[in-house]
Amino acid sequence: MSAATSTRQRLGRRAVNTVAGLGLLYVFLPIIVIVVFSFNDPVGKFNIEWQGFTLKHWADPFAEPELTRALWVSLRIAAVATVCATVLGSLIAVSLSRYDFRGRNGVNLFLVIPLTAPEIVLGSSLATLFIDRGVDFGYTTVIIAHIGFQVSFVAVTVRARIRGFDWTLEHAAMDLGATPMRAFWSITFPLILPGIAAAALLSFALSIDDFIITFFNAGSLLTFPLQIFGASRVKIPPQINVLATMLLMVSVSLMALGAAFGARRRKRHGVVAG
């Protein structure tokens, strides 16, 4: 290789890295703002201009009762919806990846359509149904709406994760005297669990953060994003930044935990089923 090309290559490599570094900065810019302003000591209603450093919002992150209540609402909705959607979605994923049956492609398509419909369409159509059927908006409708978009998401994610799962393991278990139930719970389930857990975590995050679909189906119920939306028109307490930063830290540690667990698992099992 000539010196010229190697220099050019090095330059090219550096260019890619620089662009990627700038990309990373871009990704983090607003996050830095959010975190920094959680330490701001604003005068008056708005947490926009930097006024001075304080830890007081961190000392009392739940000082805004409406915000805290909305966060609880969101957490509860996300928990219930995620559990339901994970069960429904995982069953679909298992069925799709384990069996070959008539209509499989149809089901695949059916699963993808909700993912390719814009949220506003999902939200408004579901709201139309509820209004048309005279169902009152509230917890139930929001949970139903969330399960709706989560099911497809979980099914597709889990299906991707268990693609290539060795279903002979279940045969082996039954061959060794395990009932189909036991074969599933003692062999298949622990092995596909990481995939399911990852999908569940992601769909939990989707649910907590969902705004558009929830906006149409919440009625007077206020979830965390809806509360923020309301607050954005009046006053944004620094606690929003604190809670957002806390959510961020929780998800980061969950991810780190997941990564560490995954690494240990890979080391111990070699074969990764999930």
């Binding site: 708005f46 409406e66 009152d136 139930t140 039954m174 009932t179 139930m181 009625g219 007077s220 954005s232």
Partner: protein, 381 residues
């Protein structure tokens, strides 16, 4: 390859799923109603109260003092952000004849008149509200509630122009300044149609108290449309104009008096002015929604708020005009900042100022629809 299941397992699986699936519609229709209701305050009727109000529209003390004084369990939330949006939230329930979550809400007068017209408001238990007599005489018996039995105002205010002297570098006097080319892209308008259009129309020399058809107002809409397409207007906002004003994104905007009084306490650069051409006056008013049975609590609450002492405490915080007579004296008694407020011409305008204010007259359903539609088209939504 497929794996067989045993019979028991098959039974359990199919059965559960079948039953589960079948019962969804039942659950769907059954729990909808009960579930939202569970979110409201419990307790026996009459001893609990749910008031949904605009944000930052009360001091924190009043609700606590009220609960302590009466033993009524009160839920006070601030999710009333926008008249139209809130109407959309409760209408599916009220249109069906069901009860909405709150007992009391505080819509702006024109929206309150819609609730009354639709039959979604109950007559207030005025016999149990002796303090109703403290209502400012100029607010008594509005055209849409001639007997004053459906509504008692919460606060009243003025829509005018707020500006940030740091950006404008000069004083703003009237509506013409909002359309000045030097502020291109730095002007805010309110999504509240009556305030934005009211000021513009008054700027065009119209009397909004007498406007009853869209055609009479068309000139104002043209003016707004032109300003929008010229890029003069930066955005249409709700209460969040304060945010933009404070941050310097707006040089000037249509604004509500109380907000600006509050805001200028923290940021002296922010000023409020009633345009030379005149400003609009408006009021938000408490109405009691149908289906609510807490008549006692509603009466006690309104009575509490119409006590000048309590009203003065609220005024000291929100800085709007109180509908309650005698508040000025109570403010003076409170001393300090409150006493200073008592001197503010925005809270206690003199006759000359009052004469420059106009309030929108009633619009028929069809005409109102035309106004709303034209306005929505301009705001771009």
């Amino acid at each position: 390859m497929p794996t067989p299941m045993n019979r028991r397992e098959f039974l359990i699986r199919s059965g559960l799923m079948g039953v589960g699936a079948m019962s969804i519609p039942a659950i769907l229709s059954a729990c909808g109603a009960s579930d939202t209701a569970s979110d409201t305050t419990g307790g026996s009727p009459g001893r609990s109260l749910y008031f949904e109000n605009w944000p930052a529209y009360i001091d924190e003390e009043t609700v606590k003092l009220f609960m302590a004084a009466t033993g009524i369990e009160m839920k006070y939330t601030e999710a009333y952000n926008d008249n139209n949006e809130y109407f959309a939230k409760v209408q599916p329930l009220l249109a069906k004849g069901d009860k909405a979550d709150p007992d009391l809400i505080a819509p702006t007068f024109w929206m309150a008149s819609r609730y009354v017209k639709l039959g979604w408001a109950q007559k207030l238990p005025l016999d149990k509200i002796p303090n109703a007599a403290n209502l400012r005489p100029d607010l008594k018996n509005p055209a849409w509630d001639p007997n004053g039995e459906f509504s008692l105002p919460w606060q009243t205010g003025i829509a005018g122009i707020a500006y940030n002297t740091k950006i404008t570098g000069r004083e703003i006097k009237g509506m013409a300044d909002l359309f000045a080319p030097e502020f291109k892209g730095k002007i805010g308008m309110l999504t509240e149609m009556r305030d934005t259009m009211g000021l513009i129309l008054m700027g065009e020399g119209k009397n909004i108290e007498t406007i009853s058809t869209f055609d009479e107002a068309a000139v104002g809409f043209e003016k707004l449309e032109k300003a929008k397409s010229d890029g003069q207007i930066r955005s249409f906002t709700g209460n969040d104009y304060m945010d933009d004003l404070n941050a310097g994104n707006f040089a000037a905007c249509v604004a509500w008096s109380g907000d600006v009084v509050q805001l200028s306490r923290d940021n002296p650069d922010i000023k409020f002015v009633i345009p030379e051409e005149g400003g609009t006056s408006w009021y938000d008013t408490m109405i009691w929604l149908t289906g609510s049975e807490n008549s006692d609590a509603v009466a006690q609450w309104i009575n509490w708020c119409y006590d000048p002492v309590n009203a003065a405490r609220i005024t000291a915080f929100v800085a709007y005009m109180s509908p309650v007579a005698g508040v000025k004296d109570e403010l003076v008694k409170l001393g300090g900042d409150a006493a200073a407020i008592a001197e503010s011409p925005l809270l206690f305008p003199d006759e000359a100022t009052l004469s420059r204010l106009q309030t929108w007259g009633p619009l028929s359903e069809d005409e109102e629809a035309k106004f709303d539609e034209a306005f929505a088209k301009i705001t771009g939504a």
